[in-house]
């Protein structure tokens, strides 16, 4: 007779694995679920019952308030909407510009090496290790000189300058794994610098483009420090708006509105991950396995 107990060992192992994964998933999901549940409860419900409880009633009133009605600080416009729009105005150009610059830098550093290009790359990489706080003073000085202090273009410039180290690193590491003969062949076919970039290199950069866009989008959208330091009330991003909203209380803490506001502020990054998440993983591992 064969020993049958061994046959079940992989099954048991798998069960433990899934068990652990479920606990980890729950650990991450529970706060979100709690936020959603709280955001659809009424203040009445929250005040009378427990802070953590199943909703007695369902209402999107708190979402409406957080989006357009809640008084934030002393400004005349209400709700998170203007902040949200500011964030979009900052994120889209900042992500686009830093990604394109990163792609170009990576392209040059991989295929058009020049004297000192390795030093240039190393110096650029140092930028990844500069903490946000370290550049606050010089950057505000610079924005002042450029007359961009407290403006959306000023914030875009700050995020582009800060992000270009990361985007260059991503693209350069992706491009060094591409066969150099591809560029040689294109040169012999008569293509120039820009033609090779736009017709050959960029079209095969999709995985790393997705990674870079997600990375930059998350970084810039979630940024609070630059947003609070280099802005004035008309250009504050949603993270600052949310902070101000939670801190501007009139009597009682409206948990449902706070929760709805927090979800609104986090929604774009969640959507980006859900839509492009699988490309993100694919892009991160690209190059490690030959396609």
């Amino acid at each position: 007779m064969r020993d049958t107990s061994k046959r079940y060992q992989p099954v048991t192992g798998r069960a433990i694995l899934y068990g652990v994964l479920m606990i980890v998933a729950a650990y991450y999901l529970l706060p979100l679920i709690l936020m959603i549940l709280t955001s659809v409860r009424s203040m009445e419900d929250i005040r009378m019952g427990q802070l953590i409880a199943w909703p007695e009633s369902f209402s999107l009133e708190a979402w409406r308030q957080a989006w357009s009605e809640v008084q934030i600080g002393a400004r005349s416009e209400t709700g998170l909407k203007p902040y949200f729009i500011n964030s979009i105005k900052i994120v889209i150009p900042a992500v686009a510009i830093s990604t394109i610059l990163g792609a170009l830098n990576g392209y040059v550093l991989s295929f058009f090496k020049f004297r000192g290009s390795d030093f240039f790359f190393a110096a650029l990489l140092l930028g990844c290790f500069v903490p946000f706080q370290a550049i606050l003073l010089p950057q505000s000085q610079l924005l002042g000189w450029l007359n961009l202090g407290g403006t959306i273009p000023g914030l875009v410039l700050t995020h582009v300058a800060y992000g270009v180290s990361f985007t260059t690193l991503f693209f350069r590491n992706y491009y060094v794994n591409l066969p150099h003969e591809l560029v040689k062949a294109a040169k012999l076919d008569g293509a120039g610098f820009w033609t090779i970039f736009f017709r050959i290199i960029l079209p095969i950069s999709t995985p790393i483009l997705v990674v870079t866009v997600i990375w930059q989008f998350t970084q810039i959208w979630n940024d609070f420090l630059f947003g609070v330091v280099f802005s004035d009330p008309s250009s504050q991003p949603v993270t600052v708006g949310l902070n101000n909203m939670v801190n501007s209380t009139t009597g009682e803490t409206r948990y449902n509105v706070d929760m709805a506001g927090a979800i609104i502020a986090a929604l774009p990054t969640i959507i980006v991950y859900v839509v492009a998440g699988k490309y993100f993983v694919r892009g991160l591992t690209a190059g490690s396995v030959k396609g």
């Binding site: 066969p179 003969e181 591809l182 040689k184 062949a185 294109a186 040169k187 012999l188 076919d189 008569g190 293509a191 033609t195 017709r199 050959i200 079209p203 095969i204 396609g291």
Partner: protein, 369 residues
Amino acid sequence: MAELNIKNVNKSFGTTDVLKGINLDIQDGEFIILVGPSGCGKSTLLNCIAGLEDVTSGDIMIGDDNVTYAAPKDRDIAMVFQSYALYPNMNVRKNIAFGLEIRKMPKDEIAAEVERVAKLLQIENLLDRKPSQLSGGQRQRVAMGRALARRPKTYLFDEPLSNLDAKLRVEMRTEMKKLHQRLGTTIVYVTHDQIEAMTLADRIAVMKDGIVQQFGTPQQVYDDPANIFVAGFMGSPSMNFLECSVVKTADGFGVQIESQGKTFELAADPAQADLSAYEGKNVVLGIRPEQITHVMPHVESQPFVTRVPVKIEVTEPTGADTLVLTHINGQECECRVHPTEAGNPGEQMDLLFNMSKAVFFDAQTENRI
């Protein structure tokens, strides 16, 4: 079509000299092979011809044009790479058409040219596929197609067959030769495979350490190697090199060899080398395995043939012949005998050393005597 002249080309990367005074005069329509071990500078030379690397000094002429400092696209050359370097984002048709589009050829002419090339290489049914959907051999054809489409003066091939499996490689080799006969354009072809070099080339340039060791027809390079390196590199199994001393024989000079404690004198053909200056000194005898055979009466009666008994150490049957390994002068020596004549390892066997094609090298300089 044009001749290609490479004049005293040097190339250094920093302090490393990769090419040292390369001179090659290539006739219009010649099939030239650059062959050598990896790191000998053959691919660098090809890149210099293509214009993908700048030369440090020297001139490259295509026809009457000095193209030393011309951009790759202005040299009217096409290149096929080892990795094929097909554009992964484009289908086969676009891959072939890309160079023509860049050169602003009218659309209908491009379509006609793609058709012509596809027909020539029998890849018409693959035109709408992406490179990732092709097998190795098909990719190779597409890479050739891309080169053919531009109808350049000169073709450069950088180890185009080395990524194919053995059978396909032999097939493509034949096709390559047919193609060259049909097109009649100048081809410079880099390989490290000496069989490819022998079978394809009109002339072979054997390179080592950035220097052209010998430039000649396959038969010249095989029969008249300039030095030990060339002699050992060309031919498989490679030539035997036996260090032995020169002795005076009845009518000329010869070398002394030792097998199983007995010494034998092998008379040298004076047409092959004048050994008079080396009497009493050591030289390196170069003799190919096929010049050491089993005893055949009609061969034994020829001049410069000596019968030597040896001890068989290892036998390697290849089907057509059996290779017999033995020791001469304490050095390994491989011999090619008929399968039915080969003995078993450990046995004794008589072999005929045919010296009529043997070559001699200076033991110090390793150059041909």
